[in-house]
Symmetry: D2
Amino acid sequence: MRIALSTGGGDAPGLNAVIRSATLAAIRRGWEVVGIRDGFNGLMFPDHYPLGNGMVTLDYEAVRGIAHRGGTILGSTNRGNPCHFPVRQDDGTIVYEDRTDHLVALFREAGIDALVSIGGDGSLTIADRMHQAGMRVIGVPKTIDNDLDRTSVTFGFDTAVSIATELIDRVFTTATSHSRVFVVEVMGRYAGWIALHAGMAAGVHAILIPEIPFSLEPVAEMIRHRERAGSPYAVIVVAEGAAPSGGQRAVMSTSVDAAERLGGIGEQVARKLTELTGHETRTTVLGHVVRGGTPSAQDRLLGNRFGAAAVRALADGQEGVMVALHDTEVEYVPLVEAIGRLRTVPIDSDIVETARDLGICLGD
Amino acid sequence: MRIALSTGGGDAPGLNAVIRSATLAAIRRGWEVVGIRDGFNGLMFPDHYPLGNGMVTLDYEAVRGIAHRGGTILGSTNRGNPCHFPVRQDDGTIVYEDRTDHLVALFREAGIDALVSIGGDGSLTIADRMHQAGMRVIGVPKTIDNDLDRTSVTFGFDTAVSIATELIDRVFTTATSHSRVFVVEVMGRYAGWIALHAGMAAGVHAILIPEIPFSLEPVAEMIRHRERAGSPYAVIVVAEGAAPSGGQRAVMSTSVDAAERLGGIGEQVARKLTELTGHETRTTVLGHVVRGGTPSAQDRLLGNRFGAAAVRALADGQEGVMVALHDTEVEYVPLVEAIGRLRTVPIDSDIVETARDLGICLGD
Amino acid sequence: MRIALSTGGGDAPGLNAVIRSATLAAIRRGWEVVGIRDGFNGLMFPDHYPLGNGMVTLDYEAVRGIAHRGGTILGSTNRGNPCHFPVRQDDGTIVYEDRTDHLVALFREAGIDALVSIGGDGSLTIADRMHQAGMRVIGVPKTIDNDLDRTSVTFGFDTAVSIATELIDRVFTTATSHSRVFVVEVMGRYAGWIALHAGMAAGVHAILIPEIPFSLEPVAEMIRHRERAGSPYAVIVVAEGAAPSGGQRAVMSTSVDAAERLGGIGEQVARKLTELTGHETRTTVLGHVVRGGTPSAQDRLLGNRFGAAAVRALADGQEGVMVALHDTEVEYVPLVEAIGRLRTVPIDSDIVETARDLGICLGD
Amino acid sequence: MRIALSTGGGDAPGLNAVIRSATLAAIRRGWEVVGIRDGFNGLMFPDHYPLGNGMVTLDYEAVRGIAHRGGTILGSTNRGNPCHFPVRQDDGTIVYEDRTDHLVALFREAGIDALVSIGGDGSLTIADRMHQAGMRVIGVPKTIDNDLDRTSVTFGFDTAVSIATELIDRVFTTATSHSRVFVVEVMGRYAGWIALHAGMAAGVHAILIPEIPFSLEPVAEMIRHRERAGSPYAVIVVAEGAAPSGGQRAVMSTSVDAAERLGGIGEQVARKLTELTGHETRTTVLGHVVRGGTPSAQDRLLGNRFGAAAVRALADGQEGVMVALHDTEVEYVPLVEAIGRLRTVPIDSDIVETARDLGICLGD
């Protein structure tokens, strides 16, 4: 048995723990393991790897000590979706081809019996297509935003929440002692998990999330109320994808980076709050600093569990499934049921109720 | 409505978040909140509180900023179980009385309508008795060892695992570069959750837990094998309550402190491994340093959720239930079903399977 | 003896340790201690403090546990320099008055024998004026940038470097595994201490500081060289006040906040590097998140030493001096010699030499 | 030019930064660098390294990313002092030989022009002997206890103090909320730097250091006083080498490990305090957990500076000197003046004065 591992999409602490764990679990069964570099590039474009290292053998030595390190030793890519591959025509136009069959054939030629694909919704959708095209595939879910539907939690999320909380705590003390209003923008384009968890852990005064279209008037009133009560400071956490009710965001940023450059939702909220309250308001954007680096203990553990579970699934003859955590146990979910479904914060969940009970303004 | 909060038993990071959250949720409903000092001592023995502070009013000011602090602002006690209260007779013997009815009467006299009791299995058993004696009670589970049966997780556990992992990581680098064998003893008298989570996150070579009676021969063989392979070092994590198979622990320590004093299981394991392998072996006991201090983001959040959920349960007319987390949602479990039941590590769980897949020796 | 404490200017972790330490050292000598709120506002504008708390008594209870907390319990302000006080005239123009004598008289009226003034160059200049006007004053230096001339180090700097390093480490792993170029902007308007210390501790590839006017061509060449060598990623740290050689910064930001809003030097460097190399480049600005929050052990210790040393100086009959650290010991420097002098990084220091020896590009 | 690096003695975070920095600085000058494994064992006992890796080439690849890792990639040893080498005679007795000349000859044979020796007082004494025997040697000081005389600070110390402070903070909250007395034993056989720095940063109630022979009666009185004042808890930090005045320690432990096993000074202090006060007292020994692991930013920086400075010294034609930090600059000190001299805490230093000013009991 010879299996391949591939990682796709953005960074999420715990990726290397998955790679290490899957590798060790496979070696224990006498299998060979190879890692494909940069998504599937190492297999599809061997010419780009002049040293012949588009595919690397994963053995004890290759995975020693990597679980503690952020990033992925295999590299990653968002380009070149093999199911929707851009090909430039003679007339300069771009036509998209489905190269899934070609990719599956490449795996066969390389003598690879099965693939463990570690990635977000995009990567898992490709994995599902490959499975339909005859490849034995196991998916491992990865999303820093924790917004994949069929698993209770994903690795990287705990690290992101921990670091975001620590940084909001730091901003908080300055706000308190220097009588300032701070808006802290955190990741979460479609779901407010990070904003809600980190904001509640840090004890902030308002949290704006994509699931609850917001009005800034209650936030401004909260600030005014605090000023009258002798506490002229506040900390407001805004998820990247939060949006005003009945309206549109002035700038529709397509990424954290665009938000950083053009002035994201955090910046917009800050300006509007200054208008509404007259209180000087400052913005901090927590982007890449909370999604890289050493994984938390919990994310290393979860990465370990997911990686080994993927190999056990293959050993048990499963395929076309995604590894998932439900409550305290790892389970398997058909890939086809897992993809294309977002897990957002239920607005009647106990966690939202708790935010209200703590007196946190949710902008509604 | 006037409610009381009480904390009992050992330290667990997140306790103050429960107190703050329950207080804010109650104030939001227009209720009054009092905190009882030192378990129930503040109510039962007012003479010990000459300043009249056996019961303290909990308001905004009292709970400001406490969620980030370890310990409990209410104090705690393991003494004076009111259901089994030791009374010294004239002849010097001790007779145990059930003073539950008396305690419930004291609550009535103090004008308290309901109690939120935050504690471990002992405190929750008392809470159940009080409920049967007519008191409106909601229980909030607390155990650093994560070994209460009817909740998926308890606050404090994540902090303990995080700190233990960080410290094992530190020992690990010394072991590696200085060719040493280290035995690290962690908490876990009946359940190996902390040992297993922290040991796996740190990537150690052997983990001994109460659920799997151990033999040291496979551990010694692992050390010898590593020496032969040019890696003459190893890190072994031992839960406080781990015990050899077919035998008894030489010293039956009754507490972490006794273990520290008399030489706990970690010390015994280290000595025996030195005998078996000839390799000098060192021991480190992680006790109080991993159960106090600033709670992790996750434990602050969980404390917040449990505290507010307890108040919502009262607002909904519930009583005699324990707040619990199941998967991602807070639920309520009858106290009578929750008490006296230990949650140990299932030896066929995916987490134990993963430990084996990673090549970690479990002593069996 | 009755002394007052005042804190001025921006946040720097360790401020509360100074307050606590000075308070305890004064109480030990039987003195009374009061804290003035918000710089000197609590004394100058009592009407703004309707609760009468413009000046607060500092006793054991008031300073309990504060050394671990970021910010300052006394509040702070950058407004209302009493030596250069803005007064609006009838015709709407602003005239600046020197109200130092008035301020000193207010201290006398309040029965205050001496002042410990904790602040940056601005606050210390005021302190020196007050001393010349007859007030017994001891200065305690505060600058997160570590750029005050007559002390080897100031509190807050170690915390800022530690957090900045941790965050750069996190960005670094993403850069490595995702083949990205990151520009991280850190504080340091006039001096590159934070950039140099954090950048070297994190092991980055280029560091741009105010002391060395930079050209981006060598930085771009470093990136190109790394790409050719198969390492298509880099991390570049830029101090807020770094500027190109022979030219001017396109935007002269006047504060971290302005930089965040208008696109600071980090953003400009990133854009230019993308132009020069064709490599997509991302920017992260570390501002308020590294200057607030729990002080490092070293900053708490240094705050403790400075606070007590200020009181001992008063007890010894000194005045008009600033507390300073030289090598391993606290010393005293005449305020008049300490103010208005910047401590920048000597470009021939061993630390700059070391950066070059490590192969770090300094843009020259 | 071909130079060798060697590390000796116990662990100190920052060692790998020295190795990396010296390697990069040497490569920059076109030199070759080799690392000797396990002190000098890799050179003296090549038979023990069947893979021929007793000496390893240090190049870019070998030192990539190591500055962040604890331990030393070269290994270490306390055995086999070549100046005092134990040789077993035919009659079973041990005779010590001076093999310095032999070792220097081995270096010559291996084509090594100069040695950078990184170690504590023992290693530096050997380095001095080797220099006298004709070897070009530069010493780099290493002591976690910060007790080497001719340098203001050594790497590893800041990490040890930071971790110790964090752990004492954790114990402190449990002490406070659970009304306990804790004795925390920290490293420091001859000097109390770690105890004093960490204890003051954590704000403990008593600190016992080797420089101040202690009586426990004032400590007990402090505990009794706190009990009477309604604060029935205390945290006491004891340096490993602290000793009672006018007496002897009951157990003369020869190492942290012996102390852990036999009951070190912390355990003895705790027992005696229980006797004196009747208050139950618990002990925690912080040993290996504070001397390994990821170095702090400051220790990485200092390691970087020391490593590059050693190479610059060689490039400048220096030899027989030790790299040292004085105030903010690296300097060089003749090895012969640096060895055999302990740097203890001056009992009239401002830091000791500050401890007294904070009301910390020093047992005198």
